[in-house]
C-alpha cells in the first residue's frame, strides 16, 4: 500500500488520517455530549474538559493535514454506474464532512479563546496550547456574547456530524454489501482492490 492516493484507492496517509480522525471525532462527540450536562461541582469536570479540548485540537491538526493532502493528491473516482443524484449527494456530503472535521474543532478553539473565565488548554497535560488572538482587549462583558455565539456554532456543527456520520457509514455499507463496489475497501488499510491492482 503506497503512501499517496491513486485513481483507484486511497493511499496509506489518507487511510490513516481518515480512521484516526473518525476515532477521535466520534470519541470527542461522546465526551462532548457527556460533559455538556456535568454540574460545576463534578470533581472530574476539569480533567474531562481538558481532555476534550486536547482531542479536539488533535482532530483540527489532523484535519488540516488531511485537507492539504487531499488537495495535492489524486482523488479516487466514484464507482461507475452511480446515478447523477447519488454522485451529487456523495460529493456534497464529502465536502460537508471535510468542512465539519475542520470547523467543529476550530469553533471549539474560538469559543475557548472567547471565554470570560480564561482557563487555558493544557494539551494532554504537556504544554499550554495558546488561545486564538481574536478577542484581545475585549472586556469580559464583551466576551460573553462572543463565547455564546461560537458555543452555539460548535454545538450545531457537532450535531450536524451526529446526523451525517451515520449516513456516511450507512452509505459505505450500502456500497460494500448492496452494490458490491470498492468504495469501502479503498479506504480500508492493506486491502487490494480486486481486478485493478
Amino acid at each position: 500500500m503506497q503512501a499517496k492516493n491513486t485513481t483507484d484507492r486511497y493511499g496509506a496517509v489518507a487511510v490513516t488520517l481518515h480512521w484516526l480522525i473518525a476515532l477521535l471525532l466520534i470519541t470527542n462527540i461522546c465526551v462532548g455530549l457527556y460533559m455538556a450536562d456535568l454540574p460545576r461541582s463534578d470533581p472530574n469536570k476539569f480533567m474531562i474538559f481538558q481532555t476534550h479540548k486536547s482531542i479536539g485540537l488533535t482532530v483540527l491538526v489532523l484535519s488540516v493535514l488531511r485537507v492539504i493532502w487531499r488537495l495535492i493528491n489524486p482523488v479516487p473516482a466514484l464507482p461507475p454506474g452511480l446515478s447523477a443524484p447519488l454522485r451529487y449527494t456523495a460529493h456534497i456530503s464529502h465536502f460537508v464532512l471535510y468542512f465539519l472535521i475542520v470547523f467543529i474543532p476550530l469553533t471549539g478553539w474560538i469559543m475557548v479563546s472567547a471565554s470570560p473565565l480564561g482557563n487555558g488548554t493544557l494539551y494532554f497535560g504537556l504544554f499550554d496550547w495558546p488561545n486564538l488572538p481574536l478577542f484581545t482587549g475585549m472586556t469580559r462583558a464583551e466576551l460573553h456574547p462572543m463565547h455564546e455565539t461560537f458555543e452555539t456554532a460548535h454545538v450545531i456543527l457537532a450535531w450536524s456530524a451526529i446526523i451525517l456520520v451515520p449516513l456516511h457509514i450507512g452509505a459505505a455499507l450500502y456500497h460494500h454489501f448492496w452494490r458490491g463496489d470498492t468504495v469501502l475497501r479503498r479506504m480500508l488499510p492493506g486491502t487490494t482492490i480486486e481486478g485493478r491492482t
Binding site: 460545576r40 461541582s41 470533581p43 469536570k45 476539569f46 480533567m47 471565554s115 470570560p116 473565565l117 480564561g118 482557563n119 487555558g120 472586556t139 469580559r140 462583558a141 466576551l143 460573553h144 463565547h147
Partner: protein, 186 residues
C-alpha cells in the same frame, strides 16, 4: 474552670466600651468588594448585601470593635459567567457557606489618618488572621473610611481544585476593598 470563664466574661463586660462611639453605616454610599488579576486583566466585584457593626473612637482604640457580615451570594461583577463560578463549589460555595465574616478587635494608629484593623476573616468555614489597612476622616458626626486588605485566596481554600489552583488565570493575591460612609449614633 467554668467559674473562671464566667469571671472572665464578667470582667470583659465591665471593661466593655461604655463610651466607644457607635457608627451607623450609610449602605447606599458604601461598598465592599474585591479585585483580582484574571486572565491578565483586573476583575472587580462588589457585594450588594452586607452589614457592619462599628464601635470606634480614635481616642480609645483599645475598645474599638468591628463585625462585618457579607452575603456572598450578593457578589456581582459585570460578568455573570465569572460570578457563577465564584459562588459555586470551587469558590465561595454559597449554598453551604452563605456568609463571610470579618471581626476586628485590635486597632492601631499609623501616621496621620492611617489605621490598621487586625482581626479574623472567616470564609467557607475557614478563619484566618487578616489586617485591614484604612484611612479615616471624621468630620463631626460624619466619617469616611477607605480600606484594603491583601489576602491569598488559597488560605481559605478558594479555587483550590486543579482547575483554579494556579496563579493563572486567577491570581492568588486578592485585594479586598472597603469604602464606607457612616454617621455617629447618639
Amino acid at each position: 474552670m467554668k467559674r473562671i470563664v464566667v469571671a472572665a466574661l464578667a470582667a470583659s463586660c465591665l471593661a466593655s466600651p461604655a463610651f466607644a462611639a457607635h457608627w451607623n453605616v450609610d449602605y447606599a454610599t458604601s461598598k465592599v468588594g474585591f479585585a483580582v488579576q484574571w486572565s491578565g486583566t483586573p476583575f472587580g466585584a462588589k457585594f450588594k448585601k452586607w452589614t457592619a457593626a462599628i464601635d470606634f473612637d480614635p481616642a480609645d482604640l483599645a475598645h474599638a470593635h468591628v463585625i462585618a457580615n457579607i452575603d456572598l451570594a450578593s457578589e456581582e461583577s459585570d460578568s455573570p459567567d465569572n460570578d457563577d463560578g465564584i459562588k459555586g463549589a470551587t469558590g465561595f460555595q454559597v449554598s453551604q457557606f452563605p456568609t463571610a465574616k470579618f471581626e476586628a478587635t485590635s486597632f492601631t494608629h499609623g501616621s496621620g489618618n492611617q489605621y490598621a484593623a487586625k482581626g479574623f476573616l472567616t470564609i467557607k468555614g475557614v478563619k484566618k488572621p487578616t489586617t485591614l489597612n484604612f484611612q479615616l476622616q471624621i468630620n463631626g458626626d460624619k466619617a469616611h473610611m477607605s480600606g484594603t486588605a491583601d489576602v491569598m485566596r488559597l488560605d481559605w481554600g478558594l479555587g483550590a481544585d486543579p482547575e483554579w489552583s494556579g496563579d493563572t488565570p486567577v491570581a492568588h493575591k486578592v485585594g479586598i476593598f472597603v469604602e464606607l460612609n457612616a454617621t455617629k449614633a447618639h
